[in-house]
């Protein structure tokens, strides 16, 4: 069953316009139409100048985040009719600079992400560059970070976070989640290298548990949880001087032949 739904879409090209405008479009949608489908339909049939960013159309690439009826959502993961409203407002994600229309600039977020060294850091540097075996993990060691590794870097959480809205330098939930994901990994011993950034004025202590990040995350990552666990990890290593968890050692498995180009 098709239904006509009105879309009010934010249009703004900061390089040539001074103020944004709202354009109204009408689109026929059915049960399965996502907001992204509808926007693409608008782009094809009504307004080719509409700028959108997307890639996978299945909540994997994390590029189609936008404000839909005032809340951070993935356009490809939101069906129009599930919103239950006759008029749908579509705006670019808040707290990111606008490039054009619905496309926002993530470069600041990604440079913050690089600053927390989002990769495994170990002392056995030689083994890391010329591996002779593998690092084995127990299931519970895997579970300690698996949920946080599901992040698709869509940046919805960092857009929803109230701290981000007033503190431009705050690392933001996406980045702090990433920092915890690696620090909690039993193969990693890099917390001390990340501390100067995450245990700083604009680091994890700026989070005040509004949990807005977790309530918008489309992948069940629960960044509010990883951030509080990160605070706990920092407190127990810095203040209570608890030694870090055991780091898994290399285990060479004779029956596995490793060949790296």
């Amino acid at each position: 069953m098709e239904r006509k739904i009105q879309f009010k879409v934010f249009k703004f090209n900061p390089s040539i316009e001074v103020t944004p405008t709202w354009r109204v479009y009408e689109v026929e949608v059915d049960r399965g139409t996502t907001v992204l489908d509808a926007l693409l339909k608008i782009k094809e049939e009504q307004d080719p100048s509409l700028a959108i960013r997307y890639s996978c159309r299945q909540a994997i690439c994390g590029s189609c985040g936008m404000m839909i009826n005032g809340k951070q959502r993935l356009a490809c993961f939101t069906r129009v009719l599930e919103l239950n409203s006759k008029i749908i407002y579509v705006e670019p994600l808040s707290n990111y600079p606008i490039i054009r229309d619905l496309v926002t600039d993530f470069s600041e977020l990604f440079s913050k992400e690089r600053s927390v060294k989002p990769y495994i850091i170990r002392d056995d540097v030689e083994e890391m560059s010329n591996p002779t075996g593998m690092y084995l993990q127990k299931p519970d060691e895997l579970l300690s970070y698996l949920q946080f590794a599901d992040c698709i870097e869509c940046g919805l959480c960092s857009s929803a976070c109230p701290t981000v809205s007033t503190d431009r330098l705050f690392l933001s939930p996406m980045v702090l989640n990433k920092a915890y994901r690696f620090s909690a990994d039993s193969r990693d011993s890099g917390l001390v290298h990340r501390l100067p950034v995450i245990d700083s004025e604009h680091g994890c202590w700026r989070c005040h548990f509004a949990a807005a990040c977790s309530s918008v995350c489309p992948k069940g990552v629960d960044p509010a949880k990883s951030i509080q666990l990160l605070k706990r990890m920092i407190t127990s290593t810095n203040i209570f001087k608890k030694s870090r968890k055991r780091i898994v050692e290399i285990s060479s498995r004779p029956h596995v032949t490793l060949s790296f180009p």
């Binding site: 934010f10 703004f12 900061p14 103020t19 944004p20 009826n69 005032g70 809340k71 705006e91 670019p92 808040s94 707290n95 990111y96 600079p97 606008i98 926002t104 579970l143 300690s144 970070y145 698996l146 949920q147 946080f148 599901d150 929803a160 109230p162 981000v164 809205s165 007033t166 431009r168 909690a184 989070c207 005040h208 548990f209 509004a210 949990a211 807005a212 977790s214 309530s215 918008v216 995350c217 992948k219 069940g220 990552v221 629960d222 509010a224 949880k225 990883s226 509080q228 666990l229 605070k231 706990r232 990890m233 407190t235």
Partner: protein, 142 residues
């Protein structure tokens, strides 16, 4: 009006539609915190000024003074109770263990022990409010 920067500023703190109850509590915690701070500063200045000019350090509060005290009590009780929950949460208690993210997703920060703590805080708040009302009536001499 949106600009290129598109930062929400202080309005980002106050938005709650579409988010969870934790966001509302976050706003209340901030507002009550600012309220207590404003009271403290004006109170110290007020008492200090009166003492400096008249030499009187304490006088029974008048009707406005009593009203302010009663409201302050409500705010302080809320701020402390919610603050205990937040302290626990921020040290990694109550948020639950990492789980597998399997659809339909469940956020343990938005359910489970953390939510129970919210209900507990609300219940204790309501009980304390009952006693506080009696104190207030007594203060007002009703």
């Amino acid at each position: 009006m949106k600009s290129r920067e598109n930062r929400e500023g202080i309005f980002g703190w106050l938005k709650f539609r579409g988010y969870s109850i934790e966001k509302i509590l976050y706003i209340s915690q901030r507002v009550s915190g600012v309220g207590i701070l404003v009271f403290l500063i004006t109170h110290i200045l007020n008492v200090g000024l009166i003492y400096a000019t008249t030499g009187i350090l304490w006088e029974p509060p008048g009707l406005i003074g009593k009203a302010i005290l009663i409201i302050l009590g409500v705010i302080v009780i809320f701020h402390s109770l919610n603050g205990i929950r937040l302290t626990l949460v921020e040290y990694g208690f109550l948020v639950g263990k990492p789980i597998r993210a399997v659809y339909p997703y469940r956020m343990t920060t938005l359910s489970g022990k953390q939510r129970l703590a919210i209900y507990l805080v609300t219940t204790v708040f309501v009980i304390l409010m009952y006693f506080w009302t009696m104190v207030a009536f007594h203060l007002l001499g009703w």
